[in-house]
């Protein structure tokens, strides 16, 4: 009896949206498409060896995390010794639509690296803090604090978010 495994298409359907939001939060709107593509291509390569009971979304976020570090390293053209993402220059013009979201991505991008990652992995991807801590290094409590500080900063940047979010 061979083990059951869902078609990879189902993985893309179920998690593509979450991974895109995580990528946008971590590497910024402009580089998110590349990060998403690299993440799912690497995932498809490794998928046959993934244990059937694995948490697929956590696995994808881990791959996205590594790919985002690789991507930043590539763009910085110098090694970065930790998982900490260096600050990038402030937002430049972004082509395409979705203007109402771009403000948020700019605000997320303005957060310090660990806050940005903690918000992405905990709030966008739903990873528990202990898993976030495994990705970022440090303790679960530090991850919780980073996410909380990040959300606080975003709340300051979007004081009227409850009104805007209510009518998407």
């Amino acid at each position: 009896m061979r083990e059951m495994k869902r078609p990879f298409e189902q993985v893309v359907t179920d998690h593509g949206d979450t991974v895109l939001r995580v990528c946008r939060a971590v590497v910024g709107f402009q580089d998110a498409d590349d990060a998403w593509s690299e993440t799912f291509l690497a995932a498809m390569r490794a998928y046959p060896d993934l244990p059937p009971d694995a948490n697929v979304e956590a696995w994808l976020v881990t791959i996205a995390h590594r790919k985002s570090i690789d991507g930043v390293r590539g763009r910085q053209r110098r090694p970065v010794p930790t998982g900490e993402l260096p600050e990038r220059p402030s937002a430049i013009g972004v082509p395409g639509s979705a203007d109402h979201d771009l403000d948020l991505w700019d605000a997320v991008r303005a957060l310090p690296g660990k806050q940005r990652q903690a918000v992405a992995y905990h709030h966008f991807a739903g990873l528990p803090y202990k898993d976030v801590a495994e990705l970022l290094g440090g303790t679960a409590e530090a991850a919780r604090r980073a996410a909380s500080d990040g959300i606080k900063a975003l709340r300051t940047a979007f004081p009227d978010s409850s009104a805007r979010g209510a009518t998407p």
Binding site: R21, W36, S37, L41, H123, I151, R155, R164, A166
Partner: protein
Amino acid sequence: MNDTLPNDTALLALASTEPGALDRLHRRLEEAADRDGLLDVAYTTVDSPVGALLLASTRTGLVRVAFGVEDHDKVLEALATRLSPRVLRSPQRLDQAARELDQYFAGTRTAFDLPLDLSLSSGFRQLVQRHLPEIGYGHTQSYGQVARLVGSPKAVRAVGSACATNPLPVVVPCHRVLRSDGTLGGYAGGLAAKSALLRLEAEAAAV
């Protein structure tokens, strides 16, 4: 586990992705996966007079055609288990198959010219399925005649199961095999689909 406040939920709802973004990324993934040799099973669905058909292809060729009544999700799960879990919706690889099926259903094509992958069947069943295209368009044979055709005249029931488990219906014409009394026998797509195909071929052949 998640201590997001209601207000933050609204805040994070701002991060919704715009329509079309994921479709664009999906197409990019299809191309990259094919280029890197990761697209083990590509599939698409096409409309037809006998309902939506699932078409799936390996790098070798068309490996599965499935009717809606077979439950396309279940068929894809079976492909993931039997062939490879690297299954991706990728219509491009199925372009030629889709085009030839269109022509078949329009009555302008009487034989398929497609690379086939018969790896979902083996042994006697595959032998029977290899011979089925010898039954000409618009013609029918009985299960017994097919048994004689493959050189095993007593294997009438085995021919029946070979037809019933044909992974490539329509393209490999198991619908042209009937009971010796002329009644339809069985069909994975349902008897209505079987008689629709036979009617289509009889009408197109008569023109």
